[in-house]
Amino acid sequence: MKQSASLPRTILAPILLGVLAVALWQLAVVALEIKPFVLPSPVSIATEFSGSVSSVWAASLVTGANALIGLLIGAVVGIIAAIIATVLPITDELSAPLVAAASVIPIVALAPVFYTMFGADKETARQLVAALAVFIPVYLNTLRGLRQARPVHRDLMRAYGASAWQATRAVTLPGAVPFLFIGLRIASSLAVISALIGEYFGGPIGGLGKSITSAAASSNYSLAYAYVLGAIILGLVFYIVTLGLEKLVSPHRASASAP
């Protein structure tokens, strides 16, 4: 049985690994004389980053806002859709191919369509792209989770003549929470990535995605990676907030080794 990991281990281990990796990277760039336009060194990225903190921050705000709105829309719709699909199985059957389709329409394909539908000068399309990207893992995982309720618990709800909604709230949803959060965890970083790739295909200028491609197009990779670093931090913030939320709302569990 695993004991819950100590704080130093949860914090120190990843940092140590990170420091090690970055050090190796720096060493490789210096030792092998890798040119900056092939792979910039961590030091030059850090320098560039601290030099352009304000523009990275501004870009992160734009992309972050889109990702957040997308995450909220996608998660709420995903959870509701999964519940509806559980309560009214026919909707699940009706929508199965549509959801399967929606889950694989590449952002590349949909972003231009959304820009045309909702305006190329608005953030809406990017938010929708992020929402769609979020919807899928949240919906799929929640749906699977909702189906995991133990037979004895399902019987119990039946015995209480509980309405489908009541059963969902009392038994199925709490049981699905761990699954839901797997979906959300995946979705949180996906929201950032999608909002960012959405910028690739149009919309107002100012986000991280556009900044990365602009810098990269003129081989200013240190700057490009400074923005990438911004994107990484943004994604990490999203992930950590999701994780915190999970710890907050997770129901009590009797599992020997829940991660």
Binding site: L156, R158, A159, G161, V171, H252
Partner: protein, 285 residues
């Protein structure tokens, strides 16, 4: 005390519709590999309101299945079931019964108290009332100190007691209980039995009670239904005349009539088996 034939499965009292009326019920579990299991066959049983009926029979004879059919958790392959004059389905929707499963079936993410309050919560009972009721039930099953623990922090018997409390929460007119006292020690068990009898007397609830303990069945019941092994049928219905619940005290357990009933049930239960050659296996099928 008398042994009726299964054709005469009539309740002792019959005012208004029967609490449970099972007519010609059969249940076959289909299996993909063709080896279907006939769990129940031609079961007829009528239970009057306020009557306490125990089901007893060898492991796997279909007791739980019958209970689940009455609770409309499964549908019979043949025959029909009525509960308080309604279809089993309607009765379930109308919350005509409380149920305690063979497995405790507590929700792991709810505290002991929240588990007990679950049905009340689902049926929109106010918070204050819920709290009062659950406190009452907690001390009834001797778990007042454990109100805020989670199921995984309880022993097996304690979990079962929580499940019993939960089934009693709404004072239903019909109680369906599947080996509720199976994991309890003798003393706790006897106390729970006494409490159950008292509660039934107070609320006038009918009870269908699955047990493996003959003395328990006799002590608790108006009638003991003895079932035969697969395919499950009713072999005998033994009326126990120990007086209505109010009068039953601990002294009863020492009474002659009690022992007579115990012997009758045991004989019915083991009857055929006693004659049959003892196979290496255990169930006598």
């Amino acid at each position: 005390m008398s042994t009726e034939s299964s054709a005469q499965n009539q309740p002792i009292a019959s005012t208004g519709p029967a609490a449970v009326s099972v007519t010609g019920v059969g249940k076959v579990f289909a299996s993909r590999k063709g080896a279907d299991v006939t769990a129940l066959e031609a079961v007829d049983l009528t239970i009057a309101p306020g009557e306490f009926v125990s089901l007893i029979g060898p492991s796997g004879c279909g007791k739980s299945t019958l209970l689940r059919l009455i609770a409309d958790l499964d549908t019979p392959t043949s025959g029909s079931i009525e509960v308080f004059g309604k279809t089993a389905r309607q009765a379930r929707i109308d919350q005509a019964y409380g149920i305690a499963f063979q497995q405790a079936g507590l929700l792991p993410w709810r505290t002991v108290r929240a588990n007990i309050e679950l049905p009340l919560e689902l049926h929109k009972v106010g918070k204050a009332e819920r709290g009062a009721r659950s406190s009452e039930l907690l001390s009834l099953v001797g778990l007042a100190d454990f109100a805020d623990k989670y199921p995984d922090q309880l022993s097996g018997g304690m979990q079962q007691r929580v499940a019993i409390a939960r089934s009693l929460a709404e004072s239903p007119g019909l109680l369906l209980m599947d080996e509720p006292f199976g994991a309890l020690d003798e003393m706790t068990r006897e106390r729970m039995q006494t409490e159950l009898v008292r509660i039934c007397a107070e609320t006038g609830a009918a009870v269908v009670f699955v047990t493996h303990s003959i003395p328990e069945a006799v002590f608790l019941s108006n009638r003991v239904v003895v079932m035969s092994p697969r395919p499950g049928r009713i072999r005998d219905v033994i009326a126990v005349d120990l007086g209505r619940a109010e009068g039953r005290g601990e002294g009863l357990r020492e009474a002659d009539s009690f022992f007579e009933a115990v012997v009758a049930v045991r004989e019915s239960l083991h009857g055929e088996a006693a004659g049959a050659p003892a196979a290496r296996g255990v169930d006598q099928r």
